[in-house]
């Protein structure tokens, strides 16, 4: 059974069609990547799955239940979301920030209990941030901050995790580290949907890819077929250099396609 299924989804933002006729599926235990040029609609697809934007048409089910019949608190327990480079508005401690991931599990007048503390502990452990628990989040480095925000999303312990460009601000070591966490989580049975710009990471870390262009799915399937030279030239308008590694391709965008490129 699919964890997330999107059928014939269309979304307009301010009368402009942003997504049209999207069919998308993510199953438990897999890392599904969303790639595509800027403005293709990748983030909007994530936001539609979360019910953060209105649909013009189409159907979304989470674990077999229609999105619109899930209460916000119920949906929040089923899907965790890490937005693209979110701002942190107050200099709270890392522990407090990660603890916000437990909100869906609390009702208005109860204090967090032992379950919540254990989940926060697991999230800090999984992202290697337990040592930062007492630090002020605004004093963290970019890499530490990204891991802490991921820990916040993991602390929800939802069966589905949607992550929007989690590694774009990170150095290579931390990029691999975050992608390793996501993959490890998927292997425990979670469903991971991740928006990526780095084609090599998309090739190495995802089980299936959706290539989105101008609000439509241009290609989908295993990374090896989606990341073909033809697709990349047609959609991204770039030519790439590639080297085959043991667990996927290293894909280096090399130059623009077109008359003016050198």
């Amino acid at each position: 059974m699919s964890a997330i299924r999107v059928t014939a989804l269309s979304v307009d933002l301010g009368h402009r069609p942003v997504l049209s006729g999207i069919d998308f599926e993510a199953r438990p235990g897999e890392v599904v990547g969303l790639i595509g040029p800027n403005g293709a609609g990748k983030s909007t697809l994530l936001r539609a799955i979360l019910g953060l934007v209105d649909r013009r048409a189409g159907k979304i089910t989470i674990g077999g239940t229609a999105l619109e019949s899930l209460k916000p608190s119920e949906l929040a327990k089923r899907i965790a979301y890490l937005p693209q480079s979110p701002a942190i508005h107050w200099p709270v401690t890392v522990e407090r920030l990660v603890a916000l991931g437990r909100l869906p599990h609390l009702d208005a007048w109860h204090r967090p209990g032992a379950d919540d503390a254990a989940a926060i502990g697991r999230a800090l452990e999984a992202t290697d941030t337990a040592g930062l628990a007492r630090r002020n989040v605004l004093t963290l480095s970019g890499g530490e901050r990204a891991r802490v925000l991921l820990a916040r999303a993991l602390a929800v312990e939802a069966p589905n995790l949607l992550v929007d460009e989690p590694v774009s601000a990170l150095d290579p070591y931390h990029q691999f580290q975050v992608m390793d966490y996501l993959k490890a989580y998927a292997r425990k049975g979670q469903t991971i949907v991740v928006v990526l710009h780095d084609l090599s990471l998309a090739s190495r870390y995802t089980d299936r890819l959706y290539l989105i262009d101008q609000g439509r799915i241009a290609a989908s399937g295993p990374p090896g077929t989606v990341l073909s030279d033809d697709n990349l030239e047609a959609i991204y308008k770039v030519q790439v250099l590639r080297t085959e590694g043991p667990s996927g391709s290293a894909i280096l965008p090399w130059r623009r396609v077109g008359p003016e490129s050198s």
Partner: protein, 346 residues
């Protein structure tokens, strides 16, 4: 708010166990002590013994009148109003994710003031005893309804602030109009003095008028604390955590409109309390927008009762107005906070 003080406070308070309750408990003790002190101070200084006697003496004795009819309602009202301003300021700063927000930002205080000025302008006080507070409350509710009409349409925070700017401007214009067209110097004088904010000559009637609204408003704000904490991550992440941001906004606007509207209705405008108090308590609750609400209420109560003590101790024939004192103390302190924060950022 130096960096060291900040980290010390955080170290002391970052735990979530029983220690987290110590800071509000200390503030509550301090508030009780300062309220007791405020009972002793005034044109007729009283000893603690005389105050106690005043509580139990027959109604017609002067000590009883001073303690029970003059000082007690004044001190209690000061605490209620301060608490309303403090908790509303903290909630507004959480809602707008901005430390410069304050209860007046959405225009409810100005609407309440305009309502009061309306009653003073038409001299309604002579025919109806509660004309000013009731008219001010009506002004606050009208302002709130206008905000609701906008906020409930899924408007952005920016729209909310802009509607607040419009409400503030319009209420200010109405107040200026009343001053402009004032029928006689007495009405003018009444309006100007009322606008400065004061606790002088307030009775238990004022307390009973304001207290229910402040309590209901405060409870509504307190119930919003987890949503405010979630907003630390921004609006979309908060929504993904199951927070209904639209109703959170309505909740914070309704809560502060009730609490602050009722406060302005009985005391007039008392500035800077809602802005400054959350800044002072924030380091002691590790900057947590949820845990700041209760301490801000207690801190606001302490500040207003203290400022009212200062008003009563000030020499000279002309009585200082409470709103003037809070602004005189609050504005330089706020400037200091801005400079200290900028320094900490560098």
């Amino acid at each position: 708010m130096t960096a060291t003080a900040d980290s010390d406070a955080e170290r002391a308070e970052s735990g979530s166990g029983p220690r987290a309750g110590i800071f509000p408990a200390l503030l509550a003790l301090a508030l009780v002590a300062i309220m007791a002190l405020a009972m002793l101070i005034g044109p007729v200084p009283l000893t603690p013994g005389e105050v106690l006697d005043g509580f139990f003496a027959p109604v017609d004795e002067s000590g009883a009148i001073i303690v029970r009819e003059l000082r007690l309602p004044r001190v209690i009202l000061g605490a209620i109003v301060g608490a309303a301003l403090g908790i509303s300021g903290a909630a507004m700063q959480g809602l707008f994710q901005n430390p410069l927000a304050e209860p007046g930002i959405v225009g409810v205080s100005a609407s309440a003031s305009a309502g009061a000025v309306f009653a003073l302008y038409f001299g309604l006080t002579s025919s109806i005893a509660l004309a000013v507070p009731v008219s001010a409350m009506a002004g606050a509710m009208l302002g709130m309804l206008i905000l609701f009409a906008v906020a409930m349409r899924d408007a952005s925070v920016l729209t909310l602030i802009l509607v607040g700017v419009a409400l503030n401007a319009f209420a200010g214009a109405l107040t200026a109009l009343a001053l402009n067209l004032s029928p006689n110097p007495f009405a003018l004088n009444d309006i100007v003095l009322w606008l400065m904010g004061s606790l002088t000559n307030r009775s238990f009637l004022d307390v009973w008028l304001a207290a229910p609204f402040v309590m209901i408003g405060g409870a509504i704000l307190f119930a919003s604390r987890r949503g405010l904490a979630a907003l630390t991550l921004g609006e979309e992440a908060a929504r993904s955590l199951g927070v209904n941001v639209r109703s959170l906004r309505a909740q914070v606007i309704a809560g502060s409109a009730l609490a602050v509207g009722a406060s302005v209705a009985v005391t007039g405008a008392i500035g800077f309390v809602g802005l400054v108090v959350p800044h002072v308590v924030r380091p002691f609750v590790a900057h947590d927008p949820a845990r700041i609400l209760l301490p801000s209420a207690l801190g606001g109560a302490i500040l207003v009762v203290l400022a009212d003590i200062a008003v009563r101790l000030a020499p000279g024939g002309q009585e200082l107005k409470l709103g003037v004192v809070t602004a005189l103390l609050g504005a330089p302190f706020f400037l200091y906070l801005v400079i200290a924060t900028r320094r900490a950022m560098r």
